[in-house]
Assembly symmetry: C2
Homo-oligomer: 105 residues x 2
Amino acid sequence: MKADTLRGHLDALLLAVLDGRKLHGYAIIEALQLRSDGALDLPTGTVYPALRRLERAGWLASEWDVVSGRKRRTYRLTRSGEQALAAERTEWRQFTTVIGGVLGA
Amino acid sequence: MKADTLRGHLDALLLAVLDGRKLHGYAIIEALQLRSDGALDLPTGTVYPALRRLERAGWLASEWDVVSGRKRRTYRLTRSGEQALAAERTEWRQFTTVIGGVLGA
DNA sequence: GCCTACACATAGACTGGCTACATGTAGCGA
DNA sequence: TCGCTACATGTAGCCAGTCTATGTGTAGGC
């Protein structure tokens, strides 16, 4: 998959993978790999800044855990994060309809 | 639709709209509006440079027409442009499967 | 004569994801 | 016990591609 195609959809992916569960950054990357059959292999330099951006936006909340001596910053969706996810899903449907309509015709 | 979501898919749109017909730049913009029910309203500053980029890549060929005193640069798909369009369509299907799979779950 | 639609084009800004780098722990095998 | 790999977080800077703003010029209607 071309690298740039992700642009504008990263937020949706991160919110979706945190829907209903708490994960730390590294686990988020693995979860996305898993859910996409390996197609999505996001570099840490993409994910970590994005998580902080989403936290600043109020869509995610984080807290530090220490699991077997390792520090982990665990993220979860906030209420407005859930709303944002719903909005992103709606936008995704519109987006695929529009582009798919042009490509498919 | 958020502006940035287009990124990485513009080439596919331009190739698709030129599939099987010749159009000049301005008409391409109108054709995309039409096919997307007004959702896609690309500025000329986006389309014209993109067309030249695709021509440099060998996917489009252009020639100057003069219609009722107006100069028009008319674009058409080259052979390798057709192949590129097919590849873009395949990539689009993969892309929507991957992202949709993560978002939908 | 003026305004709008048509038509092409470029310079520069902006933005967001990527590359590369930096740091450190846990656990395993040699 | 030494080194390697997997785990885990983070930042600085680059770069490509899209958008904004601007410029030029014609045709046709009012």
